[in-house]
Structure formats: C-alpha cells, structure tokens
C-alpha cells in the first residue's frame, strides 16, 4: 500500500514538473523558430532602411521610428499620472477610505478590459468626442484632430498601461521604510516634502520598472492602435501630433494576414517579428531584474 502511495506521489510530482517543462519548451520553440527564420534577413540596413518593393525588400525603419514615437508619447502621459495616483494611494489617502477602495477596484478592472475595447474607446472618446470637439472649437470644423493619429493612439495606450505603472510605483513606495518618513516629519517636513525629499528618491527604481513594463506592453499591443492611428504604409515619418504612423506590431499583423505574396514577404515578416520580440523581451528582462532588486530590499526592510 505504501509503495502504491509512493508511486502515485512520484507520478504526480513528475506530472507537475512536466507541466513546467512544457511551458518552458513552448517559449523556447517560439523563440527558436523565429530566430532561425529571421537570422538571414537581419542586418543594419534592415533596421535602418525604408521598405521597398512592396515590403519584400529593404528595412523597417519607419515602423521602428513610429513605435518609438508612439511609446514615448504614451510614457509622457502615463508616468506622471500613474505615479501621482500611486502617491495619493500610499502617502495621502486615509487607508480604508471609500476613494481608495474605488480606485483599486477601477485599477483591477482596467487591467482586465479587452484590448479591442480600448480601441473602441479610443475611437469613440478620443477621436469622435475630444478630437471632433477640438476641430469644432479651434479649426472651424476642418478635420485636424478628429481622425486617427499618433496622439490618440498614444493616449489610448496610456489608459491601457495605467494599472501597470500604478502597481509598480506603489510597490516601490511600500519599500521605503516608515522610519525614514518619521524622521522627515520629525524634522518639520510637510507631507509633500516627505514625498519629495525622502520617498520619491528612494522609489525611482520601482517607477522605472513600471515605466519599462508599460513601454513593453505599449510596444506590443496592436488592437488599441488599429483604428486610432496605425497605418500600413506611409511615405513620411510622423512629425506632428495628428500624423498617422507605422508601427511594428501593426506591420506584422497586416503583413501576416494581408500580404499579396506570402512567400516573398516571409523573410521580412520574420525579421520584423524578431525585432519586436527582442525589443519587448529586453525591456521585460531589465524590468524583472530591477523589480527583484526592489523586492529584496523590501524583504530586508
């Protein structure tokens, strides 16, 4: 009987271990397949150059530029807002107050909203409401901001990544020992001075982590930007806030599903996927390392 229990136990343990291996294998297979197919096509010209011959040759620089510009705008919007909200939750609010409870509930739910619904929101709110309103008020009804463009796409992504930034910032704020704050208060600091002189300087690592994670997410999401500003082929780079833009993820999507000659565009496609993957992985990797350093400090505190 005992041998039977032992056997079942071993089988169970191995099964769970196998599950882990399968997951690791899945990730490895995807990475490997993409790397192998992408390798021959990668070159400096690929990163640097413009697409040619119907996306079968050349580079994807406009998509890289567009992604970078998009993500930069998004960061400018989401980081101040997210950090401020986290500061309110952790430094100012009375714990257990109704507002705190509502904010946390809202954050939780924001994180679960499907990406395409963000796209609808971008369309229905930013473009049709705010953009059209701006056009009526400042452009006499002419079409300037009431259309898909990089500004609205960036703001849509900012709302999507807001929970990421808030959560990461709060974690960093929590890692600052209470004794530091007490010392500052006892020295005559006002609440904001405590935040400015003691808490924020110590939280930079966590805020950076949240920012990097948000950037990684923003660079990868396609559904929210499909109808709020991304375009497949543009002969120009986005220079104004109401320009459209090319973007890596969107490029991959269109190339995969609507390419007129799948075999011909395959090499560029794989290489583009590789670039996007490397980008998001690198960002995630850095964020993970930063975060484990913060967690270690939190445990020691």
């Amino acid at each position: 009987m005992r041998r039977w229990i032992k056997f079942v136990g071993l089988a169970f343990t191995s099964l769970t271990g196998l599950a882990c291996l399968i997951i690791v294998a899945m990730v490895a297979i995807i990475l490997g397949d993409i790397a192998i197919h992408a390798w021959p096509r990668l070159s400096w010209e690929f990163i640097h150059g413009q697409p040619r011959a119907g996306m079968t040759e050349g580079g994807i620089f406009p998509a890289i530029f567009g992604t970078a510009a998009l993500v930069l705008l998004m960061t400018l919007a989401v980081v101040p807002l997210g950090v401020a909200a986290a500061i309110y939750l952790h430094e100012y609010a009375r714990q257990g107050s109704k507002l705190v409870h509502l904010v946390r509930l809202a954050l939780h739910n924001l994180a679960g909203v499907p990406a395409i619904v963000f796209g609808l929101f971008g369309l229905g709110f930013f473009i049709e409401f705010v953009g059209a309103g701006i056009d009526r008020a400042f452009y006499g009804g002419a079409l300037a901001f009431g259309q898909p463009c990089i500004l609205w796409a960036a703001l849509t992504l900012a709302v999507l990544t807001l929970p990421t930034v808030v959560v990461a910032t709060e974690e960093a704020l929590r890692a600052v020992p209470i004794s530091y704050r007490e010392v500052a208060y006892a020295a005559g600091a006002t609440r904001w001075q405590v935040v400015q002189h003691v808490v924020l300087p110590q939280s930079v690592g966590g805020i950076l982590t949240g920012t990097i994670l948000a950037v990684s997410r923003g660079a990868g999401e396609v559904a929210p930007i499909m109808f709020t500003g991304a375009a497949y082929y543009l002969p120009y780079l986005p220079k104004k806030l109401n320009d459209q833009f090319m973007e890596l993820g969107y490029h991959i999507y269109v190339l995969t599903t609507q390419s007129p000659d799948v075999e011909a565009t395959k090499p560029i496609l794989y290489a583009t996927v590789f670039v996007l993957l490397v980008l998001t992985f690198a960002l995630n990797f850095v964020a993970i390392i930063l975060r484990s350093r913060i967690r270690r400090r939190l445990r020691a505190a």
Partner: protein
C-alpha cells in the same frame, strides 16, 4: 523669545497654498483613474445605445433579431451583403469554442506548474520558471498570433488531417499561450499564500509532499485557484489579435473545433476598419464591445471576490 513671538511663529492661520495644490493634484490623479474606467464604459455604450433606441437602426437590426434564428432557419453573420444579416450565436459559439480549447490546455498546465513551483521545486528552479512565465506574459499577442498562423496551423493540419488550416484548435493553442501566464501567476500566488503551518501540520501527521499538496494546500487555496481560472477565462474571451490571425475569420455557426470561426473581439477588429460611421453595422460593433466589457467586468469582480474569500479563509483559519 517672548510669548507673542512664539505665537506668531507657531500659528500660521491657514495651510500653505502649495501643499493644498499638490494634494489636489494627486487626488485628482486618483479620480482620473476611476474616471477612465467609467469613460470607457460610457463612450462604448454611447455608440451601442442606438441599437436599442433608434428606429433607423431597428429597420436593419435589433437585439432580438440578432439572437433568434433567421428566415432561412440558421444563424448567419453577414453584415456586408445586400441584405445585412447579424446574428450573435455564431459569435458566441465561436468565442466559447476557442476559449474552451485554450482553457483545456492552459488550466491544467498552469495549475500543475504552479503546484510544482510552490510545493516541490527547489529554489533555483523557482527562480528560473517565474521569469520564463513573465517573459511569456510579455510576448505580444500579435507575435503569438503570427506563430499560430505560420507554424502551429501547419502542424495541426498535418497532425489531424484537417480541411481548414485555421480553426479553433490552432487558435486555441495560440490563445492558451496568452492565458497560461495569468492562470499561473494568480494560482501560484494563492498556493504560496497558504501558511507554512498548514504544510508542517500535514507533514507532522505523516503525509509526504504530494499528499500535502493535493489534500491540504490545494483545497485551502481553492478560491484563489478558481479565481485564476476565472481570470484566465476572461482573458481568453477578450483576446483579439491571436484569434484575429488564427481563426480563419469565417462566421460559421458550428460546434466543431476543427472549423474556422469568429469571436466577438475578432469581429470588432476585422470589421471596424471598413464600417461606415453611424451606420447600423457601426452601432452593432460597439454593442459587441459593450457586451465584452460588461462580461469581463463581471468576471473580474467575481475573481476579486474569490480572492477576498481566500484571504478571509486563510486568516480566519489561523485565528
């Protein structure tokens, strides 16, 4: 220092202006977070309401016509045709089809892996698996969709000898890759939250690690594990890019996972680009979006509630 000087120094009359401004600023940020969620619902629902209220739209479609069988007796989604047909059942069946396939793969894998990580694994392995899962979570869904369409579709077609290359099985496999990280993370948190005292008590009674895990830890963490599944389900039905790329985008009403299908989110993504602003089709798409929002919102609330129950149970038992 005479008394009056002290009084003047100590009493300031009213709080400093800058402090009040800053406090207002951070509080407003918190309010904006709530407002964002509310605005999302409001502005998506706003464009969906004409489906319920406008007579013009009702000429073409109503909620009722979307649910009942059409004249020919079947359910057909063809908004772009001479006589536009809108029908929800194919989309519902399609969404559920692929979600179930994805969950059948993801839930066992993720939960078993979570059990291994929190109960059996040596420390180094734990440090290895968690980053791998986080990397998987960070993989853009468009990349997973690409992989599903390019590679998985061929495997599945060859392995099962299927007619359709893009179907619920292919898309389901891809979708499971997006669901695994969520289920794994929440389940692993729940299992780790079970106090060590539970395990020690079980071991003291003579149980070996797997008995402890299976009979003590897992049942104790069950609300959290269940919440993980609920969140995974919410992620599955809301996911867009993977399904958009790997489903074959044929709005056929069929329970067969080997056939192409359409999901709610993929339908919105596929058709929103060419829809005419203000047309009935436009409003129907927003209606689909509002529907998705409400369903995932409710699922999130449910998961939230389950996690709260887990916490209460674990703390209650300790006391």
């Amino acid at each position: 220092m005479d008394q009056r000087q002290d009084e003047l120094l100590l009493l300031k009359g009213r709080p400093r202006l800058i402090e009040t401004l800053l406090e207002t600023a951070v509080r407003s940020s918190a309010v904006i977070v709530i407002a964002a969620l509310v605005l999302i619902f409001v502005f998506v629902a706003k464009e969906a309401i004409p489906l319920l209220t406008s007579a013009d739209v009702h000429n073409e479609v109503t909620v009722w016509t979307m649910v009942r069988p059409q004249e020919s007796g079947d359910f057909s989604w063809q908004p772009v045709s001479e006589k536009p047909k809108y029908s929800l059942p194919p989309l519902i069946v399609g969404t559920l089809k692929v979600s179930i396939v994805a969950l059948l793969i993801a839930i066992p894998l993720a939960i078993l892996a979570a059990i291994y990580t929190s109960e059996f694994a040596p420390q180094q392995f734990r440090e290895l698996l968690k980053p791998v899962v986080e990397l998987l979570a960070g993989m853009p869904s468009v990349v997973i969709g690409f992989f599903a369409l390019m590679v998985v579709a061929t495997w599945v077609q060859d392995a099962f000898g299927l007619i359709f290359r893009l179907n619920a099985i292919t898309a389901g496999i891809g979708l499971s890759l997006a669901v695994i990280p969520i289920v794994y993370t929440v389940a692993e948190d729940a299992l780790s939250a079970v106090p060590q005292a539970f395990r020690d008590g079980s071991t003291a009674l003579g149980a070996n690690p797997w008995q402890t895990a299976w009979r003590v830890v897992l049942p104790a963490a069950m609300p959290g594990v269940f919440a993980a599944c609920v969140l995974g389900f919410g992620r599955a039905i809301g996911e867009t890019m993977i399904v958009l790329m790997a489903s074959g985008n044929a709005a056929m009403m069929s329970f067969d996972p080997a056939e192409s299908f359409r999901s709610f989110s993929a339908t919105i993504a596929a058709e929103l680009g060419e829809v005419v602003y203000g047309s009935p089709h436009y409003h129907v798409l927003f209606f689909l979006g509002a529907f998705l929002f409400v369903v995932t919102f409710l699922l999130n609330l449910a998961a939230h509630w389950y996690v709260a129950r887990l916490r209460a149970r674990l703390e209650g038992k300790l006391k």
